[in-house]
Amino acid sequence: MDTADLPEAETVLRLTGITKRFGALVANDHISLALKRGEVVALLGENGAGKTTLMNILFGHYTADEGQIEVFGKALPSGDPNAALAAGIGMVHQHFALADQMTALENIVLGTRPLWSFNLGKAQARQRITQLASDYGLQVEPDRMIAELSVGERQRVEILKALYREARILILDEPTAVLTPMETEALFATLKKLVAAGLSVIFISHKLGEVQAVSDRVVVLRGGKLAGERKTSEATRRQLAELMVGGQLPVNEIGPSTSREILFELNNISTRSVGGAGLNGVSMQLRGGEITGLAGISGNGQAALAALIAGTLEARGGDIVVHGQKTVRWSPRAALDCGIGRIPEDRHATGMIGDMSVAENVISEAYRSPRFSRFGFLNWKAAASFASGIIKAYDVKCPSPEARVRLLSGGNMQKLILGRALDGDPDIIIASQPTRGLDVGAVAYVHARLIEARDRGAAVLLISEDLDEIQTLSDRIAVIHRGQLSRPSARGELSVMELGELMAGHGTEAGASHAA
């Protein structure tokens, strides 16, 4: 980190005037950037600011429309990942580029030997991997299948892949999004060792705290343009945030909660596994006037819980109690009829149908009601006026109720989903990852609406992998790990590290599955 004692550090990477257009969208607008030896530069920006596009250009996944890249003083041919690799650039993708049914070692050596050679050189490779792992604190078992590894271990494999190829410049795209607080600490320690060994790192993030903790310099992108550059030590969090957002950061006030009666209850529910873990004897209660936050690393049963409440996953035992009444046959329709507002985890896959219109999408949960249909025929006028109402009330930027949903941005799509879910003031709301991939403005908007719902007495379950979000909004926090819930804690009762411990599964046994 301390570069002062090095002779004036050489510039290892220089981007000049990089421009990339996707149709009418200018994803990168004349961006220039330099990286020195032994330096960590944070690339800060909101979703859609152009960070990932820029790095994909650098790595040769995309071809820039304009601009040059120089690595160690030599021009890098564009659009050729091989050239980037050969020049010493290693990239750790946000979505890991690993083959699941192969071992860590096979993933690491992939492409490092001529394809037509007869030997994998496993023994040699294993030795080098072990050496690199111990040098930089990247423990993995080389002969285990990727599918058996935790997310943190997979990330270490990704970093080892780059180091194995003797990368001198390491690019990490949102590396902490999937990590527990402890794993994040370990990653930062690794980065420090790498930099001390003379590597340079570009750390892509939208989290200010991390950027401050790990970088020497911060480059801020906004709307595809370079918004500013600061020495980390000389910039305040606030300044960085304002550079990133381009103005004042919207702040939501959250008042004390006025808890009311229990509106929704799960008693000792188990399910089959969905996207990782299933639920394993989960009990929980949602009270009116409260936001209950569910923290956890993805794949620990969040998807199962959301699907269960939404009615798309069957319980294997246990009871679901809504408004004090035990439900008999739970289904998506029953959930809707009970007035549960659902914000699904994946807007594109389950939230909306991209090729259908805004109007069709917003009535998709209520098309059977006399409001929208009579004798089995849809009343398009009513649907269109309902859609217009949502567009107006939720400030959705879209040309008309007839517009195809896929043309909307993520934020606008999420606003539509909010409008649909919150129509008729449901008193139970399940919000799964409601702000994933949204920009700061849209995040603040979604938060405001959830707080509003809570303040009018609704019970809100907020499922999120973003611990900051959970801590900001939740009146009560439970942690899910391998399908079991921790004892819920009140706002501020547990520190980030303590929550992190629970997320990693330490200490769940004591309070397992007894959400009060």
């Binding site: 580029a97 049914q101 050596v109």
Partner: protein, 314 residues
């Protein structure tokens, strides 16, 4: 009943089983290579027809038997190139393209047969591969003649299985092929061309399928008939699933299926028409469905199978 069991201990039964298995082994290995690289190749049935004809025709025109095998393999590779080009860089539906390739390859073959041999009424014959007894090994009782008194093409089939397994698990190329069927992004991130790798795998796989077809005209029989592939390609697709995409298990599957097939023919003879023969014909297929249900539910298939990869797409 004891008669039915005795069949299992006769050398002739196992000789037949291995002979029936040979084309299936080629075809199954071919399909397995394609699928491991992430491309379903439903062109297999047609490619086998084309291989059966082109190999046989080469010999009929005076070519050497091994030249015939080579021509069959090249014919298969060409259809593989077509399938690969349509499904990999163009990213068309692998199902639809594969069925198209099967229809094209088989129709083109029958058309060529009619054009090239306009005046024949009964299919002309060639001098096919002859069994070759491997010294010593073929003297082992029962299994010796079954495994080691076969035609050279059967030995080539054994060799193919070993070679596929060796390449898959012991060479950089094999690791790359497996990886491209699991996560093409991983392959590209390591600087290897997904397109080249996948097309190459489909071509190699298709060449093996065609040799499987050629086995029928150049080793099992000595002439070319219409409909002689008779669903063997489709069976190979099921065998790949049965073998959980592993060469060794797929080999066992192919031999099992062939053994059922050889067994039912012999059972027909001893039951002497009490049970309709169609029941026996059906048996290998019913058993393979049962086996699929039992085995394949737990199989982990290549993650990127049937998913086209477009560079630069998020």
């Amino acid at each position: 009943m004891s008669e039915a069991l005795e069949i299992l201990f006769t050398a002739s039964f196992w000789v037949a089983a291995i002979r029936i298995a040979s084309p299936l082994i080629f075809a199954t290995m071919g399909e397995l290579i394609c699928e491991r690289a992430g491309v379903l190749n439903l062109g297999i049935e047609g490619i086998m027809v084309a291989g059966a004809f082109s190999g046989w025709f080469t010999v009929y025109m005076g070519g050497d038997l091994w030249t015939g095998v080579l021509v069959a393999a090249m014919t298969g590779a060409m259809f593989g190139l077509l399938h690969g080009f349509l499904t990999v860089p163009l990213g068309l539906s692998q199902h639809v393209t594969g069925i198209g390739v099967t229809l094209l390859a088989s129709s083109l073959t029958y058309f060529s047969y009619r054009i090239l041999l306009p005046e024949v009424t009964s299919p002309p014959k060639i001098e096919p591969f002859q069994p070759f007894a491997v010294p010593l090994l073929s003297d082992i009782p029962v299994l010796g003649p079954a495994l080691f008194n076969q035609t050279p093409l059967t030995y080539l089939a054994y060799f193919t299985v070993a070679a596929v397994a060796l390449v898959f698990y012991r060479t950089p190329l094999g690791v790359a092929v497996r990886a491209v069927g699991e996560n093409p992004a991983a392959v590209e991130a390591q600087g290897i061309s997904v397109t080249a790798l996948r097309i190459g795998a489909v071509m190699a796989g298709s060449a093996l399928m065609a040799i499987g077809g050629a086995f029928l005209t150049m080793s099992a029989f000595n002439s070319f008939f219409f409909e002689m592939i008779n669903g063997r390609g489709w069976i190979a697709i099921a065998l790949v699933v049965f073998g959980s995409w592993r060469p060794g298990k797929a080999l066992i599957g192919a031999i099992l299926f062939a053994a059922f097939d050889a067994y039912q023919v012999r059972l027909q003879q001893i039951t002497g028409g009490v049970i309709p023969y169609q029941i026996f014909l059906m048996m290998p297929f019913v058993l393979s469905i049962v086996a699929l249900v039992v085995v394949a539910r737990r199989a982990t298939y290549p993650k990127a199978l049937m998913i086209p990869y477009q560079k630069g797409e998020r």
